[in-house]
Amino acid sequence: MALRKPPLYDAYAGDASFTGFGGWEMPVEFDSIRAEHAAVRESVGIFDVSHMGEIHVSGPDATALMQRLTSNDVTRLSPGESQYSTITDESGTIIDDTIVYRLPRGDAEYLFVPNAGHDEEIYRRWVDHRDEWELAADVENQTEDWAMVAIQGPDAAAAVAGTTETDVASLSKGDIVEADVSGVESLIARTGYTGEDGFEILCPTADAGALWTAFADDCTPCGLGARDTLRTEMGYLLSGQDFDPADEPRTPYEAGIGWTVALDTEFVGRDALAEIDAEGPDETFVGLVLRERGIARHGYAIVADGEDVGHVTSGTMSPTLGEAIALGYVPTSYAEPGTEVSVVVRDREKRAEIVATPFIEDN
């Protein structure tokens, strides 16, 4: 199957190296992952995140449909607000995580963002359940209609303010507004995946180039490599890697995002999750720092007391800390920060310590 090219592909094709990710051919690195990472931590970077899906839900029963297919409580959202949520199956296993935006216009109109490569599957799930439950809602897979860029870093607000008349500085975290960005009708949301202040801007695919150009002078172009090191430093989950219905089946409680589960609402997976919540999960998602030279990577075993107790799901050298950091699952009895474990790197045990996440200060 051919990789899908993001609408901005031609804008930076000569400047980046590329990788296949979720079925999309995406820039992994422009200048250097380390330099891009530093730009986001210290000033501001721009990412093309058009590989993320966009599903639009509207109509009289839009809220009911969203409520019954996502774990969080959609009714808490006012127009122009967003929430982090998960999409679970009957057993409470996470199929995908997502940001649900309640659009600033209309009565109850939603745009939610499943991960790269999940848009078609999630769209089908929404349509099938709508039909089964006979709800009056329009569901549209708009992934190909929208381009999305993320402007992230301490100088993000200034960079975005320079492109629009809309008062973005006063937007609260998670809020979304309609705005004219350098002549492009867009949606600006104060959201991101880096741990820094930042914005994600959605615009029609055809206008993506103008949007990219508007930020080209002020923002360091960043690829998925830096996106990954930035989110790993925050302990944020990566769909398909830190959880995956086939290869890494996890509930929100195991994945450390139990706060996205509103048990007082009715949704697919709710009853299974209520049981798990009552008993507590057997395993949980933790941060680790290696105390010996080496780098923990996806799939490496975590051992303690001479036994294989868990495994790493994400790991890298933290550019901010200069230490090898990792995320993974261990039994809850080993999850306490300060617990000493080892990670098996190429058949050798490297000492590691369980630590609280985020690994760095949360901005």
């Binding site: 690195e29 780098i295 050298m317 090898a324």
Partner: protein, 126 residues
């Protein structure tokens, strides 16, 4: 576009060995460091260890990738670039100079015949 010095010979897997004395300096090429991106970790043998041509002798890791290192030449390790343990980025900054990996007492000079010349290696990377 990438630097390929004439005073050394190359493996297809992007390691080099210098050819001007009985002790060869071993490292990875400019092309290889650029492909890897920011190098953050190297794992190397110890002084006194034997390495064998075309066999793995260590690992270099960048933020995004883990790569095995293959020996361009057989011999005994006489020096290891310990500066890389604290400054692995030297591999990016100066792959043919301060970013060298090992010095090896060459066991059999005839093995150089099996390596690529600078010109042959350059063609491979173009």
């Amino acid at each position: 576009m990438f630097e390929v010095p004439e005073d050394r010979k190359y493996l297809e897997s992007h390691e080099y060995a210098t050819t001007d004395s009985e002790t060869a300096t071993v490292g990875i090429t400019d092309f290889a460091q650029d492909e890897l991106g920011d190098v953050v970790f190297v794992e190397l043998p110890a002084v006194g260890d034997e390495i064998a041509q075309n066999e793995e002798f260590g690992v270099v890791e960048s933020i995004k990738a883990v790569s095995d290192l293959y020996a361009p030449i057989s011999g005994t390790v006489t020096a290891v670039n310990e500066a890389l343990f604290d400054q692995p980025e030297l591999v990016n900054e100066d792959p043919y100079g301060d970013g060298w990996l090992l010095e090896v007492e060459v066991a059999d000079e005839a093995e150089f015949e099996d390596l690529l010349s600078a010109e042959e290696y350059r063609e491979q990377t173009e």
